[in-house]
């Protein structure tokens, strides 16, 4: 399985010896009769950056949406930070507190200002007082480079700015894990860079990240582990060097040759 059992320390410096923060065992999911996820196994360690890629309809988004229970898996186990996802609402709430998510379509709340978007979770879920929440929100906006937009509404921002607000909103909950579901797919080319830079900075800061993306430059630079999904299964897994330089599976080679041609 793993290609680098010898080196204890990986690119972003996470330790392989600790208990993994996310454990997925034989995860299955059906939509009606359609078998969308066919036995996914994955272990993610604290501080690890995982990039998931693959053709559309391969179950990448479905899989990462199972991790914070936006989708329900029907077989197998998902354990996040020691809590197993089950029908128990308290478990779901506990996991969602620790897992931030960034969506392809940003999904900011259009009727709230940028600041309100970011502070809503901290105030009502984390129960912080408003001053503390706003202070942290401003710090986060500075971190993603748009503190001057705090009092605007999402509709007044560019796509790249909106996605950076969405990242700040997820970070405001101080999550242990961040999920990115194709964060740059809905952006104009010139705005992709500003979002990727924020994500790279986040990866460098030691955040545990699961990223579904087609940005292979980002994957090569930042990922510790890459998973290639096809038809609801993990076809191949490995470090970026392994995936890009010596892919083992024909399906992986074909897919990479298609997306790297351009």
């Amino acid at each position: 399985m793993s290609t680098d059992t010898t080196s204890k320390l990986t690119k972003s410096g996470y330790s392989m010896e600790e208990e993994p923060i996310i454990i997925c065992e034989d995860v299955h999911k059906w939509y009606g009769n359609f078998h969308a996820l066919r036995g996914i196994n994955m272990e993610v360690h604290r501080g690890e950056v995982v990039v998931i890629f693959g053709p559309s309809g391969s179950g990448k988004s479905t899989f990462i949406r199972c991790i914070n229970r936006l989708e329900e898996h029907q077989r197998g186990r998902i354990i996040v930070d020691g809590i197993e996802l089950s029908h128990d609402v308290r478990n779901i709430a506990a996991i969602r507190k620790e897992v931030g998510m960034v969506f392809q379509q940003f999904n900011l709340f259009p009727h709230l200002t940028v600041l309100q978007n970011i502070t809503l979770g901290p105030i009502y879920v984390r129960k912080w007082d408003k001053e503390k929440a706003e202070e942290i929100a401003i710090q986060l906006l500075e971190r993603v480079g748009i503190p001057e937009q705090a009092h605007k509404y999402p509709g007044q921002l560019s796509g790249g700015q909106q996605q950076r607000v969405a990242i700040a909103r997820a970070l405001a909950m101080q999550p242990k894990i961040m999920l990115f579901d194709e964060p740059t797919s809905a952006l104009d080319p010139e705005m992709i860079k500003e979002v990727l830079e924020v994500m790279e900075e986040l990866a460098d800061s030691g955040m545990t990240m699961l990223v579904v993306t087609h940005e292979m430059g980002f994957a090569r630079a930042v990922a510790d582990t890459m998973y290639f999904f096809d038809q609801g299964q993990v076809v191949e897994k490995g470090t970026p060097e392994h995936i890009f330089e010596h892919p083992q599976e024909d399906r992986t080679k074909l897919f990479l040759s298609q997306i790297l041609q351009h």
Binding site: N68, R69, L70, A93, R96, K97, V99, G100, M101, F103, Q105, N107, L108, F109, P110, H111, T113, L120, G121, Y124, V125, K152, Y153, P154, G155, Q156, R169, A170, M173
Partner: protein, 401 residues
């Protein structure tokens, strides 16, 4: 071949000078056909307008309205409690004045016109020598003072204004009805309520209570709990399948049959029928709003860990309700006008009073005056609601997707 030569200067948009003659030439006399149409319809309009003016100022005998103004306005509502009605009107002036000053950034012409209407009314009533004219004038003074207060201290007064807006409807019900056997807030039985007062009370009751019930029904219809969902659907479809007038008759005639020993106030019975009716329609309108919210909003709220209740209150409902403001206000206006149906079950609302006045032998043949007058009253209130809702929409429209 065309060449791509970039223009260095930034050009202003082409300006079109507006002149009355130019506009007329373009829009009214553009061709021979246009000219004929303009002349014919113009002549028709002038003729109609002339007849209308002649009727209003020369032919119509307005004594039927002026003699019975008190009846039209408040029915048999006793004079000792008049001050309570004035108090409520003044309070409304405070709320609307402050609201205008705080939420509407620039004072518009229409605002001043709306403020000027009571002045004109005051002078009119004064010249008739009936009500103390200064009471009406006070409405204006209070509204203007509140407007400037609101403009001056928008932040300090915003919370107070919201609170007053929220409390106004229950307060109206309490103050108009009164309580206790005697004293300055003596109870006024509902059979004495009448005229515009009754129409407004019915509308206020119906709007105030049907709105939350409608929202709950809409949420119930979307619920994942089968019992709740079935009940909501049953209720909505049952009520929507019945005309309002049958509900009113059932309230007046059949309820006493089912519950012979319980006597419920007739106005309350009419109001409950209206609330039940309006809630079902409200629910469907709100459901339309709920369905317009993209799934991503629910998911984003879930992802930051909001509970189901928080998700509804902070994310979904504010957007859903804003999306259906025009529809809801349309329904409120319809509801206000539907209150005239209670005349058919024997309540003396504005229309009931009108029929009563016309039954008086002194006023035989004065239908036109009376109906023109109550039509004007209905129009003023309906247009007021419609105007206020458009203001609300544009001031809430910030940050629209």
């Amino acid at each position: 071949m065309t060449t791509l030569t970039p223009s260095k200067e930034i050009l202003p948009p082409p300006s079109e000078r507006f002149t009355v003659l130019g506009w007329m030439k373009k829009n009214l006399f553009g061709s021979i056909g246009d000219t004929i149409l303009t002349l014919v319809s113009g002549a028709f309009l002038v003729w109609m307008f002339y007849n209308l003016i002649v009727w209003i100022f020369a032919k119509a005998q307005w004594a039927v309205v002026t003699d019975n103004l008190q009846l039209f306005m408040k029915g048999q509502y006793p004079a000792f409690a008049d001050w309570r009605l004035w108090l409520l009107i003044w309070l409304l002036a405070v709320i609307s004045g402050m609201g205008w000053g705080i939420f509407v950034k620039r004072a518009e012409m229409v605002g001043w016109v709306l403020l000027a209407v009571p002045v004109v009314l005051a002078i009119w009533v004064y010249s008739l020598g009936r009500t103390s004219w200064w009471i009406l004038l006070m409405v204006d003074v209070i509204a203007v003072v509140s407007y400037f207060l609101g403009k001056r201290y928008p932040h300090r007064l915003a919370r107070l204004t919201y609170l007053l807006m929220l409390l106004y409807m229950p307060l109206v019900i309490l103050v108009v009805r009164g309580f206790g056997e005697d004293g300055f807030m003596k109870y006024v039985p509902t059979n004495l309520w009448g005229g515009l007062l009754l129409s407004l009370m019915l509308a206020i009751f119906a709007i105030f209570f049907s709105f939350p019930i409608g929202v709950l029904l809409a949420l119930g219809r979307q619920s994942k709990l089968p019992a709740l969902k079935t009940l909501s659907v049953l209720y909505i479809e049952l009520i929507r399948g019945v005309p309002l007038i049958t509900l009113l008759f059932m309230g007046q005639l059949m309820l006493p049959l089912f519950l012979p020993d319980v006597s419920i106030d007739r106005v309350i019975r009419a109001v409950v029928a209206m609330i039940m009716f309006a809630a079902a329609y409200m629910a469907e309108n709100v459901r339309g709003g709920l369905q317009s919210i993209p799934r991503g909003q629910y998911e984003a709220a879930d992802a930051i860990g909001l509970s189901g209740f928080q998700k509804m209150v902070f994310i979904i409902l504010p957007q859903a309700l804003r999306a259906v403001i025009p529809v809801l206000v349309g329904q409120f206006i319809g509801l206000f006008k539907d209150t005239s149906l209670v005349y058919l079950v024997g309540l003396l609302d504005l229309l009931g009073i009108a029929r009563g006045v016309l039954a008086n032998p002194n006023y035989i043949g004065r239908q036109l005056e009376v109906f023109a007058f109550i039509a004007l009253i209905y129009w003023v209130f309906s247009y007021g609601m419609s105007y206020a809702s458009r203001r609300l929409e544009s001031s809430l429209g910030v940050g629209e997707r």
